[in-house]
Symmetry: C2
Subunit: 524 residues, 2 copies
């Protein structure tokens, strides 16, 4: 390797020196120098996604599990746009990702060729940092800056790479700065939290999010809870939460506003660790958007991005809280029988989940009661749809399997949800990833039919129902999976689901189970 290199090589080499070993890619002509640079920087392995939403979602899953940033390689504004929905989820998860987005050569941009767009404008709403490489000489430094920004801001950093900056010589790789630890929260907030706990005791809730959902942080939270009577909870959607037997039970803030209001009904003080102030997912006519009572105390002991683990351990220390007795493992649910519904589905998952599983959860209405049963399940990590942008779980699982080699990944997806980025199955087959996918096939956008009933006071009529139903024609996920190279079976009883899931967890490699849910009530 000479003293100078092409810009593309400097970018990949710099990222590699910064710990990036995987780049999820769907390139085009304007990224050809970056593609070629893969052969010059073999320490960075490229993983192809057939669609950009797979690429960005997989980068998110990889980074959530590996604990270090992944990179993406995307083609111009439209290719980036295809990846933005899952970048949105990554941004809400505070997942560090470095997006490399090719653009036309500098001289070509002004010609407004057919694929020209304002790439920076496309990236901005879904990135925490957007910059462009001005020339090959700046390539290494800009790659280091992007990596630093992704880590520091916690989210996607988008580096636009004009084709000429990539293909030109005169670049040099450099060593990015080492990652820095998140800042510790101010002492005054610990003292305030201590005072709140002393005053409100069991009417206090500790709301955990982000790194406060690691096993270590949860143990500190459990000490605080045991010493004060305060209750524990997690946010509704979490980037990564340690759950299962032997760990504190963390109910989630309910998704629907009325349930969330009830959840917080007797909470006089909320202490947040890595969690945002609770907000309902959507606004509804005549309902306020914040479920916590207005007169309740709402204190961020550690804001998202601050060191919530340190905060919890310091607070437990202030309280001189001893470790609580380990929770008694609740019994596993019985083998479910009969039709597949949310209850029998949750039982099968809780029973069959094996220790160390990475659970990627986007089953929507099918998983409304799942979190309670997961307390019975073997210890696992749960990755959720942090930004609510549907179509996250199959890509997330794909990346998680690469970011946590040796661990089983289990994806739970609605049928509607799975269809946004179903191409992820092909990458799972290509990489022979140990991912089991359960499609909860209820043949409708069930949550929307429910919302229609709630908001409009009636089920959808004949002209509206076709945009909420998926039953004509019936989607055959077994054929879809096989088309992408993944083995699959369909089941339509809880017993068969329980058996199929047991077998799937015991094998290795990608596999899909279409769980055919009992038909919904007529007209709803």
């Amino acid at each position: 390797m000479g003293l100078t290199m092409k810009g593309a090589q400097a970018i990949l080499e710099t990222l590699h020196r910064g710990g990036v070993d995987t780049i999820f890619a769907n390139p085009g002509t304007s990224e050809m120098a970056l593609v070629r640079a893969l052969d010059d920087v073999p320490g960075v392995r490229a993983v192809l996604g057939l669609f950009e939403g797979v690429v960005t979602g997989a980068a998110d899953g990889y980074a959530r599990m590996a604990g270090r940033p992944a990179a993406t390689l995307l083609h111009l504004g439209p290719g980036l746009a295809n990846g933005c929905a899952n970048l949105h989820n990554a941004r809400r998860a505070r997942t560090p990702i470095v997006n490399l987005i090719g653009d036309h050569a500098t001289g070509h941009l002004a010609l407004d060729a057919p694929l020209t767009t304002d790439v920076a404008a496309v990236a901005a709403p879904f990135s925490c940092w957007v910059q462009s490489v001005a020339s090959s000489g700046a390539a290494g430094a800009m790659a280091a800056a992007a990596l630093t920004a992704a880590r520091a801001f916690g989210g996607p950093a988008s580096l636009i790479v004009p084709a000429d900056a990539a293909w030109s010589e005169g670049a040099a790789a450099l060593d990015p700065p080492s990652p820095i630890s998140p800042p510790a929260p101010e002492e005054s907030r610990l003292a305030a939290a201590h005072a709140v706990l002393s005053k409100f005791g069991p009417r206090t809730m500790l709301l955990l999010g982000g790194h406060a959902l690691t096993e270590r942080a949860q143990q500190a939270a459990a000490r605080i809870a045991a010493a004060t009577g305060a209750r524990l909870a997690s946010e509704t959607f979490n980037a990564r939460a340690a759950r299962g037997r032997g760990r504190p039970f963390l109910p989630k803030v309910p998704y629907f506003g009325a349930a969330a209001e009830a959840f917080f009904g007797d909470v006089d003080a909320l202490l947040r660790f890595g969690a945002r102030s609770p907000v309902n997912f959507f606004g509804y006519p005549g309902r306020r958007g914040v479920p916590l009572r207005a007169e309740s105390i709402d204190l961020a002991v550690a804001e998202p991005g601050e060191d919530a683990v340190v905060a919890l351990e310091a607070l437990a220390g202030l309280l001189a809280a001893p470790p609580p007795a380990p929770p008694v493992p609740p019994p596993l649910p019985d083998r479910p029988v009969g039709p597949i519904d949310a209850r029998t589905f949750a039982a099968a998952v809780a029973r069959r989940l094996t220790e160390g599983t990475v659970l990627c959860e986007e089953a929507i209405t099918a998983s409304l009661g799942l979190v309670d049963l997961l307390a019975h399940a073997a210890p696992h990590d749960c990755l959720e749809l942090t930004g609510g942008s549907i179509g996250g779980s199959l890509p997330l699982a794909t990346g998680a399997a690469l970011g946590a080699p040796g661990r089983k990944v289990l994806t739970l997806s609605g049928d509607g949800s799975a269809l946004y980025t179903v191409q992820a199955l092909w990458t799972q087959a290509r990489e022979n990833l140990d991912v089991t996918t359960i499609i909860c096939a209820n043949r409708s956008y069930a949550i929307l039919a429910y919302e229609h009933l709630q908001i409009e006071g009636r089920p959808p009529g004949p002209n509206a129902w076709p945009v909420l139903s998926l039953d004509r024609p019936v989607l055959d996920f077994v054929q879809l999976a096989r088309g992408f190279g993944v083995e699959a079976v369909a089941v339509d009883t809880a017993e068969a689901l329980d058996d199929a899931l047991g077998a799937a967890m015991a094998r290795r490699g990608p596999f899909l189970i279409e769980a055919r849910f009992a038909p919904p009530a007529p007209g709803a």
Copy 2:
């Protein structure tokens, strides 16, 4: 219907009065009032797409064929982002589309709920007009404004609809202004064109785009060519071009820069009708971006958006050009035999295409020689990937079939291309659309492998090749199609392709043919 109505109903009713009868939709909770309004405005039929790229591409295809705008219904910033790649193609095609994009209720926006994004910022790079409905009282007027803008600017007009503006009463529908004709070009440009033709004669090229590719406009162009010796051509990618036997042969400006330079090599004067000044698709090291010689005259007789038909007919009149003798229909190609390659594929398509077919073409390398053979084919309309954003053709075909009922639609897609928005097949099955899809399965991003060779001077190496190849595992499009409810066959000889296509053109309803191309040369 009362004097006032909800904002959502006023929006749909106003669009309906303006001639919109179809809305392609993938809604979410924030669009529930718009979904409900479908039941109040039954004249607008909703067509569900499982992914937003299907929705926007179908709206594009519908409007290209129906000659009037379609609407879309999209969910917040991420849902819109999923549809942006095909909105990019629609913008480049100058296709009028009204996007209705739901947003959080006004009071909810400030809470920064998980799905919150800057919707206007997401829309801007892919729209010709972006506005938000301030309140239900403005809903009807804003819908009319969006429709007017989509027509006037020629492209997607994005109307952001906050949930409360949709669900609140106090709105009224109104009658949008009638469409206005495109402006006629200035007389002085006709005179200049006349002078150019007199001086340069056969060294003049008439470059046709947009509405200059209607049959009527082409006949006027043929008169000019016959009278002056000028040559005719079309842009590389066209929104809708009448082609086939009995119509003037319009070679396309070649895709690759070197070939385009040769194409324009002896052109001293270019007269453009509805076409933009030629620009290479991508910039390359050491090659200029404009293929026309710098010293050649480049005159827009009718700019895109101006009335190119009037311009061509006026110029033909100035020249007193008589109608040329109808072109002698060239013979149909022989029945192709042997392996499937670009040559035998093109022969099968040209032979089997039936009169009135709508051809949606995105076969990339498989179609490089197709346009020559299409001159032999039965008269048809050809819809192309105007913005170069891959994944357009399956959705485009879906919308075209709805916008041109009674006409056969034939889609030609690369295997890689088809995978971006393959979910369109389900909508084809659900709506029982008369669409035959041929997947040109060469099991690679063949054009990128070619570009790598051209730009880097060598084929991709072991770390780069995996992002350009689709051969591990092999994609089974027959199973994929069946999974979406579409019948399918695979063929691996030209004879079998010819037979399968003949049978597909004779039947009705959606059908897919996986044409397995001969393997590429090793390593490329």
